[in-house]
Amino acid sequence: MFAYNLKLAFKSLNDRPSLTILMVAAIAVGLGLFMTMLTLSHQAGKIPMPHISKQIHLVQLDNREVTADEAENFNQMVDLTYQDTQNLLKLPSSGVEQTLAWNTNGILNVEEQEIQPQRSSVVATNQAFFTMFEVPFLYGKGWDSDADQFSQAVIVLSKKSNDYLFGGINSVGKQVRLNTHVLTVIGVLDDWFLARKFYDRSYYQAWPDQAFIPSNFAFDSDLPRNARFDCWSTTTNPGKFRTNYLTELKTSECAWITFWAKLPNHNLEDYKTQLGQYIDSQKRLGRFPRENQYFLTNINDQLEVISKMIGREQMLGVISYMFFAVCLINAVSILLAKFMRRTKEVSLRRALGAKKRTILQQHLIEVVFIGIIGGLFGILFSYIGLQAMLRVSLYASDYVRTAADLMPYHQMDWEMIMMAFTVSVSCTLLVGLYPIWRICNVSPASQLKAQ
C-alpha cells in the first residue's frame, strides 16, 4: 500500500503542477531567507577554539577611580595598564600561560621583491600567544622568550602576507621591512580560522592580522598603538599615547592592553588568589582605589555577552522568521486548495474501500515530498542569500576584507543543511496537518452523487 500511495503522491504532484510549483516556491523562498539568517547567526555564534575556549580567560583589573560606574560584565570593564601586564607576566604562577596583545600597524615591504609595500595590521604580543591559542604554522614557529626579553626584531607573517610578500615560499630567515625597521621572518602561519577575532576584543569576523611581532620590540620601535586608552588619575588627552609619550604611558593608569591567561580548572582558584594578592600589593602603593575587583572571563562567556549586543542579526532573524511564517501560511492555503479539489476522488476511493489511514498516508507522503523539494530549493535560495550577504559584508568593510576571508561565515555547513531539511519537512508537515485532516474526513458518500 505504501508503494501505491507513493505513486499516487507523485501523480498528485504532477497534477496541476502550477499549484505544486507555487507551494514549493513559497516554502523555498521563506526557507531560503530563514536559513540565510540562521546560517549567519549560526556562524556568528560559533566559539573560537571550542575545545579550550573555556580555559582561555580575559584578565581585567579594576584600576579605575572610586567614582567610576559599577561594571556588570567584562565589556564594561577596562583592560590592563602596561605596568600591570608586566607585573602579571612575572607572577610566580606555575603552569599558567599568559599573553598580551595590542594592535599596531605599519608598512610591510621586502626590498628585493618588486611588489607594492603593503599597509598591514600587526599584533604586538609575546611568545605564549602562539602556544596558548594553538596558532597553526605553515613554516617555522613562533619566537622564544629570549626574543621577548631582548626585543628581538623577529616577525611572524600570516599566510596571506607571506603569499603576497614572498609568493608563498618558505620565507623563514628572510628579512622584511616594517616601516623603517628590518625584521627577520621566524614563522609563517597556516590558514587560521577564528569564528571571531577575540584576542584584541574586536570580535570581528574575517579580519585577520597580517603579522605578529614581540610587544617589547614594538615598544622599543615606538610603533603606533591602535588602542582605546581608558585613563584615570591625572592623565589628560589620552589620544596622545597613540603615537607619543610612551614613557608616560608606561607608568600611567591608562588601561589599553588585552591580557589573557590559559587557566585549566585546577589553576583557576590559585590564579584568582594571586590576582587578589597582586591588587592588595598595588593598593599598598596607592593604586586600585576601588574594592578588590577583577574580571576573569572565558571566551564562551564573552561571546554570550557580545552576541546579545549584536542587534542587527537579531532583528534580521526576527524578520526572517516572520517572513517564513507568512510563506508557510501561503503554502498551507495552496495546499488546502489543492487537496480540496480532490474531494471527489477521495470520496470515491473511500467508497471503494480506502481507509482513512490510507488516505492519510497518501497525503502525508505528498506533503513530505513538497517539504523535501521545498528544502532543496530553500538550500539553493539560502546559498544565493548568503552570497548576497557576503557582498553586503564586503561593501560594508570597504572591500578591506576579501570574499575568501568572509566565505567561512557565509556558507552552510552540514549541520545547517540538515537543519534546512528538518525545518522544511517539519514545518510543511505542521502546516499540512489541517489540509490533511480536512481531506481525510471527506465523507465517502458526500461527492459521489454530484457531477
Binding site: 497534477d15 470515491l348 473511500r350 471503494l352 474501500g353 465517502p444 458518500a445 457531477q451
Partner: protein, 233 residues
C-alpha cells in the same frame, strides 16, 4: 443476506431534523435483483448509501451478509465495503487521468491483493464487460456506455456479494441503457445480489422485486403482497 430492522436515518442541523428514512424493515435474499424506485427526494440514495455502508444510521439494526454492522468503526466499515460491495454510479465516477486498467485496479489495491491476482481479476472483469482490448485507454476516450461498463468492471473485479447501482442508466441513451441492463442481469445470474435505484419503470420491471420509497418510508411490494395473502387466508 441484507436485512434491515427498524432502521432510521435522520439528518440534523441546528434548526431542523430531516427524517430521510423511517423505520425501514427489509430483507433482501442472496442472488436477488431488487429495484428501488420513488420520487426525487424520497430517500432512495440515502437508502443505497446506508446499504453500501457509506453512511451510518441512528436507529435499528442492519445485517449485511449475516454481520450486524451497527457500531462498526470506520476501518471495519471500509474493509466490509471493499470486500462485499461493488458500486455503480449514475455518473460513472471513473478517475479520468487513469487508464481503464488502473481504474479497475483501485478497489483491488485497497483489498491488498498481490500484483498477479489483481492483474487476473482486472483482465477477467474487463473481459466480462467486453473492454479487455482497451485496458490502456483513458475513460475520456470511451463513450458513456463504455464508461459505465468500466465502472461495472471495477465493481465486480473484487467479486463482491452485493452490487449497488444508483441509476446506472441515468446518463445513457436507451440502446446503451439496454446493454448495461443486460450486463447487470448477466452478473446477477451468476449469483451477485443487485440493488438498483432507478427512475425508469421499464427497467424496474425487469428486476425480481421492486421496493418503493415515499417520504423516507419503504414499501416492499413483495412483502406487502405476502402480508395480504396471509391476512386473506
Amino acid at each position: 443476506m441484507l436485512k434491515m430492522e427498524n432502521v432510521s436515518k435522520i439528518y440534523r442541523t441546528n434548526l431542523i431534523e430531516t427524517h430521510a428514512l423511517r423505520k425501514v424493515d427489509l430483507h433482501i435474499g442472496a442472488g436477488e435483483f431488487v429495484s428501488v424506485t420513488g420520487p426525487s427526494g424520497s430517500g432512495k440514495t440515502t437508502f443505497l448509501n446506508l446499504a453500501g455502508l457509506l453512511e451510518t444510521f441512528e436507529e435499528g439494526d442492519f445485517y449485511l451478509d449475516g454481520q450486524n454492522v451497527k457500531g462498526l468503526n470506520d476501518n471495519q466499515l471500509s474493509e466490509l465495503r471493499n470486500e462485499k460491495i461493488g458500486f455503480i454510479f449514475q455518473s460513472f465516477n471513473l478517475l479520468p487521468e487513469l487508464p481503464l486498467f488502473d481504474n479497475v485496479d483501485v478497489p483491488l489495491r485497497y483489498r491488498g491483493f498481490n500484483a498477479k491476482e489483481r492483474k487476473d481479476r482486472i483482465e477477467n472483469a474487463l473481459e466480462i464487460v467486453g473492454l479487455s482490448s482497451r485496458m490502456q485507454h483513458l475513460p475520456t476516450q470511451l463513450s458513456g456506455g463504455q464508461q459505465q461498463r468500466v465502472a461495472i468492471a471495477r465493481a465486480i473485479a473484487g467479486q463482491p456479494k452485493f452490487l449497488l447501482a444508483d441509476e446506472p442508466t441515468g446518463n445513457l441513451d436507451s440502446l446503451m441503457a439496454q446493454q448495461v441492463m443486460e450486463l447487470l442481469e448477466k452478473i446477477n445470474q451468476q449469483g451477485t445480489t443487485i440493488i438498483m435505484v432507478t427512475h425508469d419503470d421499464q427497467l424496474a420491471r425487469r428486476s425480481h422485486r421492486n421496493i418503493q420509497i415515499f417520504d423516507g418510508q419503504v414499501s416492499d411490494l413483495a412483502q406487502d403482497q405476502t402480508d395480504v395473502l396471509i391476512k386473506s387466508e
